[in-house]
Homo-oligomer: 193 residues x 4
DNA sequence: GATGAATGAGGCTTCATTCAT
DNA sequence: AATGAATGAAGCCTCATTCAT
């Protein structure tokens, strides 16, 4: 049974998460003070320390949450469609991520290259959907003589490249806008796999 | 003629650069205060403000310097050798960068995602050698029907991928050590170009 | 009859005493927070305030307890032996205190300047054994023309001197170790009485 | 040459000492915040940290200063008089200390049993007058077969006893007022030496 | 009686920046 | 040009105490 107190606690924690996320993305991490977060969340300063060790504790947790969420959504959406070939499926998956990040530049700026292997690995155990990214890849290489280790490295490079390109093109339009980069990115990814 | 005073000024500026670089790489950027920098540089606090606007001013300049230096060294070394095919030349160039960063993890950590197109572009005008990276690529694509714009994007992706893989594998050994990642990275790059 | 509830209460109070004592002696008084005490005692924060007003309330009670205990043990042990002359008896009594404090430096540090007349007086009514210290002295001066007031002052000085010497020599080895100070301390006390 | 800046610095440091001393003696150490000290001293908060590490740094320095000052004054005054016998000289010396502490109960409370061997030793090298306390004692024992070590322990006990009695009787009137304790204290000291 | 989440005042300390010398 | 003492805003974090459950 979830008591009133427990519900209340969860609410406080969530309001801290939301407030911190908003401030981190709009003002920046260095420019956000804990006093800003608690003011926005509508709780007392001490309350922050009941739930988080310090600013970087809540930041890490937010990044893990958000990053996993993106990937998790992407694979869920992908699995709901049906594709004839692996290449199409992967393209759809990557495209979903790109569009997600395109629509939320602040999120992209925050999680930046944290959409990386580290997060990926850490999220693996907690998010069933993340495991399905592996499964998707495995199925794609079924029948070939590519080892699992090799496959994992390819997946790693695909995600790293995607992250890098997104960051540079979405945030800075460098070397071009993401829409202009997309075709060549997909082309490249298909060459890689 | 360079007067004694001018030499003195340059010396002070350089000692500030050196001190800041050492502290940024060993203690971290956030953890380095201007008072730390001036103490290490052996100059007065006020002197710092004669040369730099604030901590991020000196940081930006350091990153630009160091990043350009890496690329500049890499292309210089590459041009001193002679290669039969473009693929070998590019591999040598990338390998030089990797080895450089491998031998200086602190530098890698600092310039990290800054070894990017932004820096690359900014450094273009000031460093003759950087322009030669373009030249190398142009020669590589001579005769093909690849446009300059397309070529530039490929170069961009090659460098982004290299940077990402270096960071993850050198700093965190994720997904594997850089030496184990190298073969597949080269293989991938050759697929891309 | 002692009900289960009453036993439970006493247990809680005792665990608070024990926890507080451990923390005061190991971490220091200023460095010990009430939250530390309750955590160690395994009770809730609010519970502390059911038994004690604040940190200094429990501290005072601990000091009174522990100090009285030392004196009480000392006189009990002394009375169990038989001595021909008062001087031997007093020496044994003082020596017992010294050895006790020697074996528990943390206790000494805590009660230090509190092993004083104030505590002594306050403990008088509650501890039958403390009254026996007086009795011992009274018997020692039986037959002489020393007034009770005078005798009390001498006892006071003997205990103050003992406390001071113990603190300085046991904690800091100043001016010498307690074992090297003992002969001269006894010699001095015998001169005083 | 003492520049204006140096004079200014010394003034600031002194005003911090004075303010801290006043607050420590009137409000108590635990109840005095650094913000109180700087407010009273009329300097900025940061200035405090230019001169002292923290509250306990300035406290230690104050205690050493004040304690040494008491002893130093006492021996100076004593040496200005002429006494026929050592006993009279020592009595005068101790009496001076007592009267000093009697007239400044707040100081006594602060330096408390810090008027002890530790401080005494530390002050030895810096205060010429402190060395003269030794000299006074040495002259007193001239001709006897008491070793220097033995003599030092006696001096130690005399000072410890004096300090303890002063504290208890001046601050708490326990077991009697200092004026009523004085005769028996002197009597006791003369027995000890 | 017991709990422990929540509070928010208040302490400590750092540090970018200024400015008289 | 160079200095470094002084500033005080601003951040971090602790902790005694309360009170609804």
């Amino acid at each position: 049974m979830v008591t009133k107190i427990e519900r209340n606690k969860k609410e406080k924690e969530n309001s801290l998460y939301t407030a911190a996320y908003d401030l981190f993305t709009t003002k920046g991490i260095n420019e956000t003070a804990i006093s800003d977060i608690v003011k926005k969340a509508g709780v007392a300063k001490g309350t922050f320390y009941l739930y988080f060790k310090d600013k970087y504790d809540i930041l890490d947790k937010i990044i893990l949450n958000k990053s996993s969420h993106v990937l998790s959504e992407a694979i869920k959406e992908t699995n709901e469609k049906s594709f004839e070939v692996f290449e199409d499926k992967l393209t759809y998956f990557i495209d979903y991520i790109i569009e997600y990040l395109k629509s939320d530049r602040l999120l992209l700026k925050l999680i930046y290259k944290n959409l990386s292997w580290g997060v990926f690995r850490r999220a693996y155990k907690d998010y069933k959907e993340i495991q399905e990214i592996y499964t998707m890849f495995e199925k794609g290489y079924e029948g070939s003589d590519v080892t699992r280790e090799h496959m994992e490295k390819i997946l790693f490079m695909v995600l790293e490249l995607t992250g890098s390109v997104c960051y540079s093109s979405i945030i800075y339009n460098e070397p071009e806008s993401i829409d202009e980069m997309k075709p060549i990115l997909f082309e490249t990814i298909l060459k890689i796999i």
